[in-house]
Symmetry: C5
Subunit: 89 residues, 5 copies
């Protein structure tokens, strides 16, 4: 999983049926120093996030392993809000 | 998912049976500033797009989770047209 | 999927049983300008290609979704020969 | 799999149910010279690790193939502690 | 698949049960000119290799499609020894 920051949301009228019930957020992936890595991803929200939140995103087949995303063709989902970081870092 | 721009389509006579009914588009993946990232991908269309459209592409096993692509060996599918972007960005 | 050029083939005596019936080609992945991107991949052929052909390769679990590759532990398969490109590009 | 060093752990209150029972560690992926590659990942622990440990991480669908992670939407899991390296390197 | 060179093996006491019966090798991924690309991976051996061998590695879900690896949480497996390369390259 990667640590990312929620920065926007996508407006889309034409999309496949499965994507219609979910909210699509644009997140910036953070690097090891919690700075913007320059990489963004569009992710399905599964927990209820807002702009500016630090979140964990999961990718690949894992992105479809939540109650909300199991029928949704997403390759990236937001699965946790990050409240803090402990350790040596 | 990534945001991409539809720029072309592939003509192919020799291809496996499963790919014959679908339309293959060349898309340029956009970076965080909506500029061409220099990366292109060939994607199966599932919604009916045209050249110049901004779209969302999904990759990996998710690319096969639509009605149109479920039997198709694609690693990338176009699943939404992007109409706008809201938020902090 | 990516556009690639077939440049060689692999000779291998010691390999797992599943790989024995298939032909393994070395392909160079092309960039957005149809130049060699510097990245090569070894791919299983599913359509009958030759050196110099421009082809489409599919990766990940999709690489195993053809009649020829469904029991083969490959992460990349050649699924179409590219005859042309239309559009804005 | 990649070799990584455990450097921290994530504190999170809002997360999907499946992630609640597991411990999430921040690991730094090491390069070929056992130096920090600059890339970090958040991984689920399956063996009981501590800060500073050198570990092996597995990614993609393999990350869900352990007793602990089989129902968990993780794309990266810690599956071994590395005790040594033999060979030409 | 990628072409890689076997350069070492991992010693590990603490690992999940599924990894105990297999041998874990460190391989260096080679670039298009058969030079070390600077990228290494830890791979499960399925054919019996030794240090210095040139091998093919497969990644992702394909890495678990061999008799030896089908229950093993690996994202990379060695599936062939490379004996030669023919073609334009």
């Amino acid at each position: 999983m990667d640590i990312a920051k929620v920065v926007g949301s996508i407006t889309s009228v034409s999309k496949i049926e499965q994507l219609k019930p979910v909210k699509l957020f644009v997140v910036h992936v953070l690097d090891g120093d919690f700075q913007n890595s320059g990489k963004y991803i569009v992710a399905v929200d599964t927990i209820g996030v807002g702009y500016g939140d630090l979140v964990l995103i999961t990718t690949g087949s894992a992105a479809k392993m939540t109650e909300i995303t199991k029928e949704i063709p997403t390759d990236t989902s937001i699965v946790a809000r990050m409240d803090g970081l402990e350790g040596e870092k």
